[in-house]
Symmetry: D2
Subunit: 260 residues, 4 copies
């Protein structure tokens, strides 16, 4: 059977990334069973017409029953470099995981869903570049609305999305994702919880009212917090408030790079 993918290509273009996307698989990450949505690509040298996509799907399937640490992302990428005979591979693994939340007064336990994405990129004779994406929800309460109003203040659900790039790939498994989630949600006007009894709702309401923050305030406080994370080489952060008084969002964005 002819191997059409292996035909010689004379357009002279090395393809930076080619592979599969929109792949769903059940994985085990952070000791949780997650539903992962995956994009998995490799570089293709300029003389070859096509890559062998099925090998990428086979590699991913190999990892279905294995508990993955962050450092294991590099193994997946090394498999791709070897089995696809290339010098670069990249993978994005997006999933929801759950954080245990304890209601502030009643101490009821519940599970809050957090969106996460691992992005790994590997060049052949190098160590993995790793970017952690998180989307963390919380409440924001508007300082202007509080100040100018005789009573009340508009507030709303907000989300902070971060992309965190880590430098020392020897220490990737020391990243404490749960701590980072906590760090981020602590910068809103109040944390949020799936289960709140009345005494908790009072606590959350009053906490937010005592702690009014613009989207810019939240962004700045998250920037200050992120700068303290160990081994971070760069970050991007965006905050979005789903304004309760508009049909659109308030938005803020910042990007920093600590590399020399």
């Amino acid at each position: 059977m002819i191997d059409v993918q292996n035909q010689i290509d004379d357009r002279g273009i090395k393809i930076q990334r080619t592979g599969i996307s929109g792949v769903y698989l059940p994985l085990i990450i952070l000791n949780q069973n997650v539903l992962a949505k995956i994009k998995f690509t490799v570089a293709l040298n300029k003389n070859t017409r096509g890559t062998h996509m099925s090998r990428l799907a086979e590699i991913l399937t190999d990892y279905v029953n294995i508990s993955l640490k962050i450092s294991d992302v590099e193994k997946i990428l090394r498999d791709a470099i070897e089995k696809l005979e290339t010098n670069f591979s990249a993978v994005e693994i997006a999933f929801k995981f759950f954080v245990k939340k304890i209601a502030p007064v009643s101490e009821r336990e519940s599970l809050l869903d957090i969106d996460c994405k691992f992005v790994g990129e590997l060049s052949k004779n190098s160590s993995m570049k790793f970017i952690l994406n998180l989307a963390v929800p919380f409440t924001s309460l508007c300082p202007c609305s509080k100040e100018i109003s005789d009573f009340g203040a508009h507030n709303q659900r907000s989300v902070c999305r971060v992309q965190l790039e880590f430098s020392d790939t020897e220490k990737l498994d020391e990243i404490n994702i749960f701590e980072i989630v906590d760090l981020i949600e602590s910068q809103g006007s109040s944390k949020i919880f799936p289960i709140l009894k009345r005494e908790d709702e009072k606590f959350v309401t009053e906490t937010a009212y005592k702690n009014p923050k613009f989207v810019e305030d939240i962004l700045r406080d998250i920037v200050l917090a992120l700068r303290e994370i160990k081994n971070l080489s760069a970050f991007e952060v965006e905050c979005e408030n789903f304004e309760s008084i508009h049909n659109h969002s308030a938005f803020a964005f910042q990007k920093e790079n600590f590399e020399k």
Copy 2:
């Protein structure tokens, strides 16, 4: 060229609806230029293998530069019945339109986007069944949170989605969609506006605080309001509060039918 669609089918199944979906076209509705997403189907008799999908696309294209009234939906459906030689046709035309909003104090004008869908169904020797879908946003402020807290009250953006079925198809063009939008958004804790100056923000904040409503309160008030709409034969209504203190929504639903 063989007409494969016209081949005889012997499975004995009259198909209730077959046609095209996910069709985007620029239409003129409510005197506004809208981006419409359309599903357009017909019944197919039990002896015929397939319908002629391209004719459905041709009919829709005929209506691109024509300003459509609600009653014109019936013309589209009659075209389908005639050109596809069937006895039933149905169309769903979903679009965003804009409502002019005037800020409550500064009186600044702005445009609020509202999701709308026209659903028409026509049997050959009958008049059109018409259902109007609207999704209207507003603010809700929680009565429990206000009552139990020493200050403040959680609030959030909410949306009410209605499906309104009208009985007297002679009078469809008398339906005042802008009035219905206003009727619905008046049942929240406060209306929302794309542009609010500080004096307006104070007004909206205080209005919501003085007017706390559970999702159930809003649902009940909208039910009472909808019952007063002329010529309504049935409705479904759902309200969703994008809770600022949770990562999920509070939700309520009601369905009524006034037909004998």
Copy 3:
């Protein structure tokens, strides 16, 4: 602390459904760890102002580590009726699960994601009404395109979405969801697979070409297949072909009810 929800309501409206939506939780269904998106509602009597939403979240959290059979949906609903002191409850649990696929020639194993939703409704002194929703992908190849073209035939990914209502609630755990998925995907021009080696790709390509089907053909064959499922009291089915020659879909829909 005042129980505002328990205040008396005098609008005279019994609310059919009120509760929480957009709740994500990790559940165990079909012996798989799934990410569930849940809507959970109860009826609210006409004299009470609001329901106790947090109790609904608590009930769901109770089921996080328990392997759920279909019949267990009724337990969740009974918990709601009891703890919310109501006479009706409803739940929708949407999730992806995975079906093991074996490539037709190479026999490579892979996992195909299928969208599923359990819908349960329970009235106090009655048995549960249960509706199974599935969305099953496959390939469709156009008979007209094959017939009129000198070579080739356009084909595309398709999806069939079914809503299956079962009558005998004693036998819900006898429903074999994997068999139903197989039954549905068998009606396309060819099944699809996450991993296909070249010999498999040849098989799938030729199978589809030998088995051309309009969206109407697929719908009719699925209708015939569904009629044979035991204990089915009603179904709705829609098929959508993501046409490779258009930017829109071909679509067909059928609804049948076997109740007397």
Copy 4:
């Protein structure tokens, strides 16, 4: 009334971008009435607590009835720099527009929807950076499937998404977006059309079969085509085939920068 936004901030962080997102407005672009989804942000100096979001909404509203050329995006950005007293502004305007398509044999006319986004960024004493985003659909037919199969070949809808950065901002209004769409869709196995009569369907089917292309072939041909566009300083391109034989996509990506 206190201007809380104007309070002094001592965290020492100049915010790169803050403003509004998810704003829908009806605009006139490319002489078409479009539904625009907009993100509009400005930089905020390190001493000021918050920006005046309502002014951004006011600026956008000013442009509702004005026909916009690409160069007018710079006017919007200059308005923001002036009215928000900042030195940087950015805007993203996403919309669908329509391309007139003529069926290849019957010559029927129809309208194909194309996703577009204008991205403009402006620093105070500089000219605008402009990036054009397009998503163009077409058909792809698999060369491997064609080669190894005795008959037929799998094919599917594909989309190419490009980000094109232009260098000479004096000549932005010379960009012919319709030509670029045509250039991109010409690199697939066949163009697609909203309305195809049987003779057209034969033409499209046979054209695709005679022109098999991997996602990598399409990417490379688009890269070659884009390199010929005048005034282009950089581009990113990704192609996605919604594989008819899988439930996932084949994907390829390339990025080039011509700046010295």
